[in-house]
């Protein structure tokens, strides 16, 4: 039993912290919030150079053959710095879905360009209902000879604006539990229209993606046709843990900012941190942040080791991180008082990220219900 990080993992964290401290201060984040692309391609190239895009992938595809725990270390730091980047959607969501699909041919085709940083990718799942489950997928893929025809629209597709390809979940059978087929679609394919959505968190980009008679070749299927949900579930579990790790970093930074402020801000002749209304709030923020961290890393370990309760651990991590990040960010703003309500102060960037993360990949209620199911309640 060892719930600690290896020396290599500590080194990786230090490397990520140093790079992002230097290259991604909030002043830079604010520039990228106004940027049309929404991220810095040179930064992405640097990240790929450092091998972060290679972390969880097999050596056969150019990867480092490390695990989700290592990836989470990097993502926690990215969440801490609010890095605007398609890294998580590319590596943590699309990449991990391919890697976990067991589809060797697609992995060989798709992963190398993720690993070397030359491609961004994403997953198109959610439709008009806003549901993050198989039942929410209504867009059908119809057979047309060897190819599939797609007609419809996907929403809340992360970073579709900059993606080279995306995994599209389409319905090919009338099965409430699954019946989905995953198709790998080029974002430049004829009939694909990417329409950016305006995100409350300008450090995270999303798009609506329209499919107007898009023809997808038969060999674009990821995994087994009709069993797409089972495959995607594995990818989503991993992406949820990535997001939980990111949100932990976000909460951690809010905690630190709040504690630092509470030590220096004077009211009524004492630092506000000397008042229990503030200090006990900070203690609660600590408990929530540490708990989010414990759950995220344990889930990462569980998925890396394919233990039976891995999916449960992932649901727990995402549910808890959703609530913790929101609550910690709200508390943080309250500790800062008026100054925390200004655009100039950074705390709102964290608040908005927390809110985005909370609602993305299924919110806390959604995952609590899944926890209840997985516990056979």
């Amino acid at each position: 039993m060892n719930f600690g990080f290896s020396d290599e993992q500590e080194l990786l964290r230090r490397q990520a912290r140093d790079l992002l401290d230097r290259e991604c201060p909030t002043a830079r984040v604010r520039q990228l919030m106004e940027d049309e692309l929404g991220h810095d391609p040179r930064m992405y190239a640097r990240i790929a150079e450092l091998g972060w895009t290679a972390i969880p992938f097999a050596e056969a595809h150019g990867g480092l053959g490390l695990g989700l725990v290592d990836l989470t270390v990097v993502l926690e730091e990215m969440g801490r710095h609010l890095l605007p980047s398609p890294f998580q959607s590319t590596v943590g969501l699309a990449g991990m879905t391919v890697a976990a699909s067991g589809d060797a041919a697609q992995a060989a085709r798709l992963l190398p360009s993720i690993v070397n940083g030359s491609a961004h990718a994403t997953v198109a799942l959610v439709e008009e209902t806003g549901r993050w489950d198989a039942g929410g997928v209504r867009m059908a893929a119809r057979r047309s000879g060897d190819a599939w025809l797609l007609q419809g629209e996907k929403l809340f597709v992360p970073y579709a604006q900059v993606a080279t390809w995306m995994i599209v979940a389409a319905r090919t059978a009338d099965d409430p539990a699954d019946g989905l087929t995953l198709l790998v679609v080029d974002t430049t394919a004829p009939g694909v229209a990417v329409r950016p959505l305006r995100s409350m968190d300008a450090t995270r980009r999303m798009a609506a993606v329209g499919f107007d008679g898009v023809e997808v070749p038969g060999d674009a299927v990821l995994g087994e046709p009709g069993r797409g949900w089972a495959t995607l579930r594995r990818g989503l579990d991993r992406a949820m843990v990535c997001l939980a790790g990111e949100l932990t970093g976000t909460a951690q930074r809010v905690l630190e900012m709040s504690v630092d402020y509470a030590k220096v801000r004077q009211q009524f002749g004492r630092p506000i941190g000397a008042y229990q209304a503030v200090s006990h709030r900070c203690a609660d923020m600590l408990v929530m942040t540490e708990s989010a961290r414990s759950l995220a890393y344990h889930a990462a370990w569980a998925l890396d080791n394919d233990v039976p309760e891995a999916s449960l651990a992932a649901a727990m991590a995402k549910a808890y991180a959703s609530d913790a990040a929101r609550t910690v960010a709200s508390h943080g703003l309250q500790v800062h008082g008026g100054i925390g309500f200004t655009w100039e102060h950074d705390i709102h960037l964290y608040l908005k990220r927390a809110k985005w993360g909370e609602a993305t990949l299924g919110d806390a209620s959604h995952h609590r219900e899944r926890v209840a199911q997985l516990l056979e309640l």
Partner: protein, 382 residues
């Protein structure tokens, strides 16, 4: 105990309602807002001409000589009809009691702002540092104020300054009325986390204020300021519960109208419990307010228990906004202005705006201190 209106009050309420029905429409609701000050002045002038601004003020001051209950009815009806806020709210409810040309105040010919808070004096108002030096017949004011609504359009400012730097805390404060056209005043809009700029920073550099503009005594500003704040909490307080009710109604409508797979979100047992609980607490707040109002109608001064309502309101308003966003699932992450954002992103904006509720007009921490110390008689925690 009687929660109904008297026949005269009912008649008056109907009068207000009729006027609102004839004079208020969605165009006004949407456009007479924010920075469009001329529109807002025009609206206030219409309200005044109709006899609904300064209802309880004496006739000789341009008011209607009506009852406090009538004032409350106007507030409730205006809020329930989602009428635009009066632009001269600070003049009417805070500076009002102390100034001469009341008719012009009611018509909003001149707008007022309030210069109390400073960057280093948030909850601890008594620690403010804006200096007013006495120089012949003038005060010479230098310093910085913050969180000032309407400063960019105001003609007058009620300003709390320190005249005696050797004194600390409450002593040595002086209350001045400052002409915002005076040289040396700079107003900078303060952008908030919503992207709006409702508030301003004000910088005073050697601004000369004639001695005649002193309110109360030199060094006696704290008492005057407390009167102002008491009026703020008591009079504006009546409006809070109506605002909460409006937010709640909107939430209920949202829950009914947000339909996922043919099922309205209002059918979800969790949503039902949350909205029911919010409804109960908004009702409790309304009733607590009526208990306070009853005392005032019986001639008692509004007391520290008025803090209960501000405390409840800010927390409720935040929870209403959070519940709305919870209802919306991923749509909650869309910003104002996105065409798919439900109601144009009004709830996303409202959520962000609500974060300030527990800070502005007395932080929840300070309000709990007031309740603990001044209502329950517990020792000071500071």
């Amino acid at each position: 105990m009687d929660f109904s209106l008297s026949p005269e009050e009912t008649r008056f309420r109907d009068e207000v309602r009729d006027w609102l029905r004839d004079n208020l429409d969605d165009r006004i609701r949407e456009h007479v807002t924010g920075d469009d000050i001329e529109q807002r002045r025009a609206w206030q002038r219409r309200v005044h001409e109709a006899g609904f601004a300064g209802v309880s003020w004496p006739r000789e001051l341009g008011g209607q000589g009506g009852t406090l209950m009538q004032e409350v009815i106007v507030n409730q009806e205006m809020a329930a009809a989602r009428a635009p806020d009066l632009v001269n709210i600070i003049g009417l409810y805070m500076a009002g009691p102390t100034i001469l040309a009341h008719g012009t105040l009611l018509r909003a010919d001149e707008i007022w702002c309030q210069g109390f808070s400073e960057p280093n004096s948030g909850s601890d108002l008594a620690s403010l540092r804006t200096r007013a030096a006495i120089d012949g017949d003038d005060f010479v004011v230098s310093g910085q104020k913050v969180w000032t609504s309407f400063a960019h359009v105001a003609r007058w400012c009620i300003l709390l300054t320190r005249t005696d730097a050797s004194e600390t805390a409450h002593a040595g404060l002086t209350y001045l009325i400052v002409d915002m056209h005076s040289p040396g005043i700079e107003v900078r809009p303060l952008r908030q986390i919503t992207g709006d700029a409702e508030f301003n920073e004000m910088y005073f550099t050697d601004v000369r204020v004639p001695r005649a503009n002193l309110l109360g005594e030199v060094g006696g500003g704290w008492r005057v300021a407390m009167t102002t704040l008491m009026h703020e909490r008591a009079t504006l307080g009546v409006g809070l519960q109506v605002r909460a009710r409006i937010a709640l109604d909107a939430l209920r409508a949202l829950a009914r109208e947000t339909v996922v797979d043919g099922v309205p979100r209002s059918a979800d047992p969790l949503v039902r419990q949350q909205i029911a609980q919010l409804s109960i607490e908004v009702e409790a707040m309304r009733l607590n307010g009526l208990r306070g109002l009853t005392k005032v109608l019986h001639g008692e001064q509004p007391g520290p228990e008025g803090s209960v309502n501000k405390l409840m309101w800010s927390e409720l308003n935040q929870r209403i906004a959070e519940t709305a966003l919870d209802l919306l699932g991923p749509y909650a992450t869309l910003a104002e202005g996105d065409e798919r954002a439900p109601l144009g992103g009004r709830w996303a904006h409202g959520y962000l705006r609500s974060r300030a509720n527990s800070i502005e007009g007395g932080t929840s921490e300070v309000l709990r201190n007031i309740l603990a110390e001044r209502v329950l008689g517990l020792p000071r925690s500071r």
